[in-house]
């Protein structure tokens, strides 16, 4: 076990990193706001100081703050559920997409994006909400199916569930392919961009549902650290240690489906965070889930905020899909750690 002194330092460092990422996410953007204006706007928003200039207030309060909150929530939830899935499946390659929630969400989104352009028209103002709702529902539906298929005689077979996840992902992929085929040029681009994720256009109205779900997941998952530790020994060993494994599986899967479903509904598919952050943190804090879960939540939020900064600054005044950035930052760093830890 890691000496608690080192763990304490590590958490201090992670918290510092997260605070830095939040500050930068609020202070930096394509519009060059002086530092004083940003501070002023923040104090104004929290009701402490006099209101700032309308321009600064709008940019910090209506554009950057919801975006920062969205990034934090999405990053933390993806990383936490990544830890949960890797623990449940005892498979380092597991990520939240394994139980079909991501492909289900993508299916829901594809049906709405293509369906709206071909068969019905909705007022542009409610389009994003319908899209989010469909993605969320799609994620829950496919995950529910995966879970059902994995059950036999009151037992959940993890291996069967994994295969069912693969099969249903393929099936969802086929339907998405059909939608891609039916799509016109513009719809195709909308679909592609959705699949790369973005925190662009975050607003409070779309933030609240995710905020509630994410807080639930972030508060609840760390309480299951002991069971996840026991699962490291193996399923039957964990059962012998007195844990109700079936109950735990159900809870972990529900948690992942809700969390990832809400994250994907709000920001599109953002790859890599759920896979890489848990690994990174395992290399730093070790396999103990009591440390791993909170560390992953902090690091996931920070990574997503840094990635979003790059996404909005690199090609300003245009913007890059954040999924590209997370993979570009995440993959080489992950490789570096892998190579280093082997020596």
């Amino acid at each position: 076990m890691m000496p608690s002194q080192v763990a304490r330092w590590l958490f201090a460092a992670l918290a510092g990193l997260l605070l830095l990422s939040i500050w930068l996410s609020l202070a930096l953007g394509p519009v060059n706001l002086p530092l004083a204006d940003t501070l002023h706007a923040l104090f104004g928003l929290s009701g402490l100081g006099a209101p700032a200039s309308p321009q600064a207030e709008l940019i910090v309060g209506q554009i950057r703050l919801p975006r920062t909150l969205l990034g934090l929530m999405v990053g933390a939830v993806l990383a936490l559920t990544g830890v949960a899935m890797q623990g449940l499946f005892r498979n380092p390659l597991a990520d939240p997409g394994l139980i079909g929630v991501a492909s289900g969400a993508a299916l829901g989104a594809a049906l709405v994006i293509v369906g709206m352009s071909r068969w019905m028209t909705l007022p542009a103002a409610i389009e994003p909400y319908v899209l989010s709702a469909a993605a969320f529902a799609g994620g829950l539906l496919v995950t529910g199916l995966v879970y059902r298929l994995g059950r036999r005689d009151g037992q959940t077979q993890v291996a069967t569930m994994l295969l069912a996840g693969v099969a249903l992902t393929a099936l969802a992929g086929a339907v998405i392919g059909l939608m891609t085929y039916l799509a016109d040029d513009a719809t195709l681009r909308a679909l592609t961009f959705w699949n790369l994720g973005s925190l662009n256009g975050a607003s409070y109205a779309r933030l609240w549902p995710l905020l509630l779900v994410a807080l639930g997941v972030a508060l609840w998952l760390p309480r299951r650290a002991d069971v996840l530790n026991a699962l490291l020994l193996g399923e039957s060993e964990a059962r012998h240690l007195g844990f109700d494994i079936e109950q735990v599986k159900r809870e972990l899967i529900l948690c992942t489906a809700l969390g990832v479903g809400a994250a994907v509904a709000a920001a599109g598919l953002i790859g890599f965070v759920g896979l890489v952050v848990p690994h990174l943190m395992r290399l730093l804090v070790g396999p103990d889930h009591r440390l791993l879960l909170p560390a992953s939540a902090l690091a996931g939020g920070a990574l997503l905020l840094f990635a979003d900064l790059a996404a909005r600054l690199l090609v300003a005044p245009a913007e890059m899909p954040i999924g590209i950035v997370t993979a570009l930052i995440g993959a080489p760093f992950f490789l570096y750690l892998l190579i280093r830890s082997r020596h």
């Binding site: 542009a124 961009f193 973005s198 662009n200 090609v315 005044p317």
Partner: protein, 293 residues
């Protein structure tokens, strides 16, 4: 009687000028949408443009302007860095939450119609004319557009020749070209140039090269995002060998078309393109009269 008219005219003039005082014309424009941007330039608004999207590629001088990205994926803060008074686009512009944010930042947002019909074009140009303070020039552009199309229509109708069967392909380096079907700008273009679109499906679809050959078109109009002219033809035939022996290729009836013509509704370059296409389809077509050219 006459005096009353003068008085009414004066009043109207006063009202108009008051109106103009009340709402100054937007000076800094960001334009998203290929055809909309082309019209802004056509109506003399290019000096007001401070940014364009990735679909606004014509004329080439626009490429020196900052790009705000793809029209459906605008970034609120990104657009705000250009401090625009007006964001012009079509109903394809978005995402909607970003448009709301921009609106609350005081940016005026105007969404034109991307439909390919003359009524939509007329409405678009009237709005553009008002925004630019050039209503007469915009109206003249509409009338000219309409007149050139009508003239072409009239001349084609007068010819005894039968309408040629044509396919319009949108390619990417020659591979898997999409064939323009019903309800597309491309089909509108073909019909206005006096051709019959042989494709019966809705929207744009890929057809197998066998199906392409079987449709036995009189002409193929190809718009490729990468290649032009002979290179395009070579790539297309290399990817679709069944076409090589077809009648249309043996007769050399392949035409190349600028792909930026087909984005975001009817643009100002369409009449000239139509006349050119029509003259290729109907070699007997009279040169168009001077005022319609």
């Amino acid at each position: 009687m006459r005096r009353e008219y003068t008085l009414a005219g004066l009043c109207a003039g006063l009202l108009l000028s008051l109106d103009a005082l009340a709402e100054p014309l937007p000076q800094r424009w960001v334009s998203a949408g290929g055809a909309a941007t082309e019209w802004v330039v056509e109506l003399g608004g290019e000096p007001r443009l401070v940014g364009v999207d990735t679909t606004s590629q014509h004329p080439a001088s626009l490429q020196a302007l900052p790009s705000v990205g793809y029209q459906r994926q605008l970034s609120a803060e990104g657009v705000l860095t250009l401090t625009p008074d007006l964001l012009l686009g079509t109903e394809e512009m978005g995402p909607p939450p970003v448009l709301d944010q921009l609106r609350s930042a005081g940016v005026r947002i105007e969404q034109l119609s991307a439909a390919s019909d003359l009524a939509a074009l007329e409405d678009n140009l009237q709005r553009l004319g008002a925004l630019l303070g050039e209503p007469q020039r915009a109206q003249a552009a509409v009338d000219d557009f309409r007149q050139r199309l009508d003239e072409l229509q009239r001349q084609i109708a007068a010819l005894p020749a039968e309408a040629p069967g044509v396919l319009l392909l949108i390619g990417q380096g020659g591979s898997n070209p999409l064939v323009a079907g019903r309800g597309t700008v491309a089909e509108w273009l073909l019909q206005r140039a006096g051709a019959r679109n042989l494709a019966q499906h809705e929207g744009y679809k890929t057809l197998s090269s066998e199906a392409l050959a079987a449709l036995d078109a009189d002409w193929l109009v190809v718009t490729d995002r990468q290649l032009r002219g002979a290179e395009m033809q070579q790539a297309l035939l290399a990817q679709n060998p069944a076409l090589a022996s077809s009648r249309v290729v043996r007769e050399g009836h392949l035409l190349s078309l600028d792909p930026t013509l087909l984005t975001g509704g009817l643009g100002p370059r369409l009449p000239a393109t139509l006349e050119q296409l029509a003259r290729t389809f109907y070699p007997d077509l009279q040169p168009l009269s001077a005022d319609a050219r």
